[in-house]
Structure formats: C-alpha cells, structure tokens
Amino acid sequence: MATPGPSYAVGIDLGTTHSALSYLRLADERPRGAAQPVLPVPQLTGVGTVEDRLLLPSFLYLPGEREFPPASLALPWDKDSREIVGELARSHGAKVPTRLVASAKSWLCHPGVDRRSPLLPWQAPPEVQRVSPLDASARYLKHLADAFDRALGAGAAAKALARQDVVLAVPASFDAAARELTLEAAQRAGLPEVVLLEEPQAALYAWLEAAGEGFRKQVKVGDVILVVDVGGGTSDFSLISVLEREGELELQRLAVGDHILLGGDNMDLALAHALGRKLEGEGRKLDAWQLQSLTFACRVAKEKLFSSPKLGKAPISLASRGSSLIGGTVKTELLRDELENLLVEGFFPKSALTELPRTARHTGLTQLALPYAQDAAVTRHLAAFLTRQARALASNEASLRVGGKAFVHPTAVLFNGGVFKADPLRARVLGVLNGWLASEGAAPVRELEGAELDLAVARGAAYYGWVRRGNGLRIRGGTARAYYVGVEAAAPAVPGVEPPVRALCVAPFGMEEGTQADVPPQDFGLVVGEPTTFRFFASSTRRSDKVGDFVDRATERDDLEELAPLERALTSGEAASGLLVPVNLQAAVTEVGSLELRCLEKGGKGRWKLELNVRMKE
C-alpha cells in the first residue's frame, strides 16, 4: 500500500525569542484566513507543571544533575526529559544565566563561529554541558514536532509532522549558509523534507490569506510593498512589487535587507537600563535578577502607555528576591516622556534619508560575541536599505522607474512583529517614510490593514504550503542574493601581501527554486586526499552579474560579503587515480530553497557537492 499523502500544510516560525506552529487542513480545500489554527504547545511553565501556550519561547535550559526533583521535568511525550525548552527555561534561566541557551538563531547565522560545535551557553563554566547553535535550533523544532505528533498525529507515524508539508520561515536576510544550517537543524529534528520561506514573505502571505479576495481592493498593479518586520531579536526588510503578467496579478520579491540584530527585546532592555540608572541615582542598587524583572515590568508598562494615550505614566513595583516584600519592594514609574524619548526617538528617530546607520565596521573574523547592530535606529537602517536598493534597481528594473530617485518609493507598508502593536511606532515609521517621499514629490504610503503581528509568520508559512500546491497567488523572487566563489588572481608573489581575489559569479540574483546554472569552464581542480577550499561571497545588491562574470578585488568591496568557505575532500575511493581532478562548477537552487554548489568532473562522471565549512578562515 502506498503511504498516505500529507494531511496538513504546516508553517513553523522558528523565531529568535519565540517559536510557533500553525497548520491548515488540506482536506478542507480552502484557506481559513484568520481562523487558521495555531498549535497550543505543551511546555513546562513551572517545575512539574506542563501547560499549553501558543508561543514556545526559544530558550533551552540545561539543568545540573540534581537541580530538580526526579521526574519533575517530564513532558507528555517524554517521561524522562532532562532538559527544559520554553517558558520555564526562560523564567528560570534568568536566575541561572550560565545554563541558559538564548538567541540560538542569531548564533546560527554568525559566520565568525563554528555553528556545529558546542559553544552555547556562551561563556558557561567548563563543567556545564554545551550544545551547538544547530543543536539548540533542532531541539526547538523537535519540541514543536513532538507537540504536533501528540495533538494531531495520534501517535501514528503516518500522521507525524515528518509526513506533512512543512514550511519553515527564516529571515529574508539569512544567507545560503544560514539557510543550509536551518535545513540541517530540521533534519536533526526528524524533519527531512521542510521547505524554506522568507519571513517577510510569510507575513505577506498571512495578510493575503486573511484578506481573501478583498486584497485586490487594497493592492493594485504598480504597487511596491515594503514589509517592515521587527521581531524579538532581528529586523528584516523586504520589497515586493505588484506586477501584471498576461492579465494576472503577480507578486515579485524585489530585494531583502541585511541581517540586523536589533529587535523588540533591545527596546525593553533600553527602558530597563534607563529606569535602572534612575533608581541608582536614588541610591537603590539593582541586582541582575531585579534588572530582569524590571525588563519584564517595563514591557508591561510600555504596552499600558502605548494602548492608553491619556496615561501620563505607568507605575512599576519591583519585588526584592527575598521574602520581605513590603520592605524590599522598589518603586518607580515609567513616564510617557521617557518612553517617547527612549523608544520612539531612540529606535525610530525622524532621520533624514541621507543619514545612514552609524557602523563601527566590525572586523568579522576576530569578533566573538553576537554582532549586535551598532546603531539602534530602525529608521536609519531602513533609509540605508531603500537607498542602496535604489542604486541596485535603477539599472535593472525599468518597470519600477527608480531612475533618478534617491530611494525606492514604496506605495504600501505591511508591518510585522509584536513591536508594532504600538500605534505610535507604526505611525512614526509611516511619518518618516512619508517625509522622505514628500521630499521627492511622491504620494504618501498607505498601511496594509488587518495585519496580525504575533502569529502571522507561522500562519503565512502554512498558507504558503497550500499555495505551493497550486492555489492562490505566489510571490516570485528566487534567491535574494548573487553568489560568488573566490579565485586568486595570478600575480607575482609578494611576501606579506595577500594575492588579490576575484569573485566569479556562480549563481545570479533571483535564481528560482528548482533551477541550475553551469559556470563556464575554469581551471578548478579537486585534490585527492586533501580538502579543497573555495572562498565564498554573496551580494544583495549586484543584480546584473551573470554566471561566469568576474568581480575584481572581492575582499575590498562594500557590495560583496564574504561567507563561510565551501570545502570538499576527495578520498581516493571517490575519484579515479591521479592527484588532481579537474572540475567544472554548477550551482543549483533546490526545490526546498537551499543553494547547492557542485563540482562536475571534466570529461568524467564524478559529481561532488561542496560542503559548507561553517567556520570562517582565521
């Protein structure tokens, strides 16, 4: 008997701070819009207490041997669980930071570290067990898979998540290496066949699904939609244009922004630090635990002030850790002025279009903590994105009429991420954009309404699973970057001077899923018995390079970014005798959305995939 096909299209949002899973029953033969269910995820919320929550905090806590009573960490599907994922990991981990794994996703796309080696919790003492960023991500996915199997799979292998159409959302700014590692994490979690989708696209899919046929009233041909996605830990921008082809509407993803480690958590932390300083000025010293609860209290106070515009301030009471509550409680308040100054002006200032983010251009290779954004101003990052893409698009996309404009003019904005529940922040972004547009005589943008900010990515990803089966409108776009391998230019050797590197384009911008490109023959060879390494570069702005084109001085350019190298070691069993096997390169974008580089033996049958070496060259 043939194995039954999938019953559900499942979308997973594997976020930096929260994860969620949504599903769409294929048998219903129609999308459910805003009614599409989100899976309640059982997770430990206290020691010995398991509860359902719609969001799974992306935190992993690695307890010591005798830290908790026996069986108190049991999960419905694992009586002997020895690890904590989710709510309890986050709340208890605040008191034991050396055993808490957080922001695994940001580490997963950090090229400066070996992402397959156990290095988290970062700076944990030596006796604490550690896991790799890849492992941590795999555990969150495994937890979601177990929850799904228990709720909907009824314990039958044929109904398990692994058998469903699973779409996993990743930041649009993830490069080929981070995407590859995400797929590897899914594999480790027992999900060998997931498909990747960019998060801002997922947000737009969720909006399309919720709007139903009504979306045609809100978008029209010629629109350029800017998706502004500020999550818990990262900010992500995408431009999607609305075109017409053969009388049908078509959506095309034009460009994506760079990876910016800046999100809602930074904002709450900024408020907490400001209030902490205020308390210190009054002579009250806060310990690390109190700072943590202050951060939480600030989030609550922030939401209160943003949702009731008439309140001038929100009171904050911080309990001491000891049992003396009345004597030990520290009292303060968050004033509206402070909120406006710190959040609205600090993270969303009214900046000019020409004001670019301040960068202490990090040295990449030597830096070892997470490369947080140096400039907290989301609006300046946005200006940089729109102006850089205008230059890149001007020569290529005539239909956009970008020529002569200082930045890409969006006509509509879709917000995503819990940060934008605050009306004043959405209004500020729109205001700043409209200021820029007015300066070039363009009409103001409009906001795409009805966006759901917290669960849109999971919902939209599930809906994409449905769209992939030939329903509804699909966003086209292909790869968001062009990819290159480094070729050392022939030059006389000078001691101490690195020979200049030229970048050979192997995959052009916008390569679609399921296509491949042969690189014109070069003199590449794999050496039998030792690893051959290719330096690997990407660009999010070089849209016109074709396969086989060369870019000079690859290491010195602003529009090329070096990624972790690609490697392949041939064993003598794999290749015919002879020390050097001459090869041609071929790039392919797989159906699931990952980039694969292969070596094809010249005049032979050998075919080898180049593997990602996740560690940057020192």
Binding site: V47, G48, E51, P69, S72, S317, S324, I326, T329
Partner: protein, 185 residues
C-alpha cells in the same frame, strides 16, 4: 447517601464564611461544635465492603495548596500575608500591593474566567424570580413573604465560568509552597 464532594473554590468560600459566622454567631457555633467533634454528620452510612484509604490532608487539598503556590510564585501572596504590615508606611504597603495585585490577577485571569453573578450594576433594582438559585443569590435585609422579591443589588457576586488550572504536579511535595532559593557563587 453521602453528599457530593464540594469543589475547592466553594470550600474556600465556605471556610471564610464559617470563620466569621463561628466568630460572631455563638448559637450557630454551639450547634456546629458537636458535629465537628463527632466527625461526619449522623447520616446513615452504608456498610462499605472495604474502608476507603483516607488521604492525608495535604493530598486531598493538594489542588488548593497548588493554587496557593501559584499565587506566591506569580504574585508573592504568601510573602505579603506572612509579613507584619503594621510597622510599614502606607506608601511601602501600596508598592508591595502592586506586585501582589499584578501577579495574582494574572493567575486569576489566566486560569479562571470569573464574572459577576448578576449583570446589573450595584445599587440597581432587580427582581429575584420565584425559582431563584439560593446558591447564587443571597437575600439580606427584610427577608419576608414569597418570591418574586424586589430589591437592590448590594454586591453583584462572582462566579467562575471556566477553570483552566493545570493539573497538580505529581512529582512535587504539595506542602512546599515555594522552595528556598540558594544562590551559588
């Protein structure tokens, strides 16, 4: 026939009510005392084939203790109740009350749906129908004659619409309401 077991929150309420009535109603206290002394009321007890195992009180009240531990974890309720508040100024008590209020309120809102028994505003006139439920409405003042009664709402009451409390952890000791925290350096 043994009476149906009374749910926890009803017992909690009953316990409060009993406390005050025993304190202020000597006649009632006099009637209750023999009942307490004799244990169960003198209802005809059917001969059970085997005596059911008697649960220790911390087991039969485990759910109540668990709710208390949640109110402590989220809202520091026990810390607040165990502390002597007479020596502290109102300002400090107020600041602590915010912590208790915010956390306990979260527990109540997350795990229970609570709403007024009667929808009418306090002070409004209402009619109590003939078939009213004496468990939901308590008559006070000039209680005489036959229903329907006419009166004004003094307190709209509270009733739980749904209970979403998690099960009591089987691995824990119900007597421990909050573990001690020892920070290692």
């Amino acid at each position: 026939m043994t009476p149906e077991p009374i749910p926890f929150f009803a017992r909690l309420w009953l316990a409060f009510a009993c406390f005050f009535r025993m304190l202020f109603d000597p006649a009632l206290a006099g009637r209750v005392q023999p009942v307490l002394a004799a244990g169960a009321p003198a209802a005809p007890v059917p001969k059970a084939p085997a005596a059911p195992a008697i649960e220790p009180p911390e087991r039969s009240h485990a759910s109540g203790l668990f709710v208390l531990s949640m109110l402590q974890r989220e809202g520091r309720l026990l810390d607040f109740l165990q502390e002597d508040i007479t020596s502290h100024p109102d300002e400090a008590v107020g600041a602590a009350a915010r912590v208790v209020h915010e956390g306990c309120r979260r527990v109540v809102h997350d795990y229970l749906s609570i709403e007024p028994v009667v929808g009418d505003a306090e002070g409004a006139s209402i009619t109590v129908p003939a078939d009213f439920d004496a468990r939901r409405i308590r008559l006070t003042g000039n209680v005489a004659g036959q229903p329907p009664f006419h009166g004004s709402v003094k307190h709209h009451g509270w009733v739980t619409k749904s209970v979403r409390l998690p099960p009591v952890p089987v691995s824990g000791d119900p007597l421990v309401l909050a573990p001690a925290e020892v920070e290692l350096t």
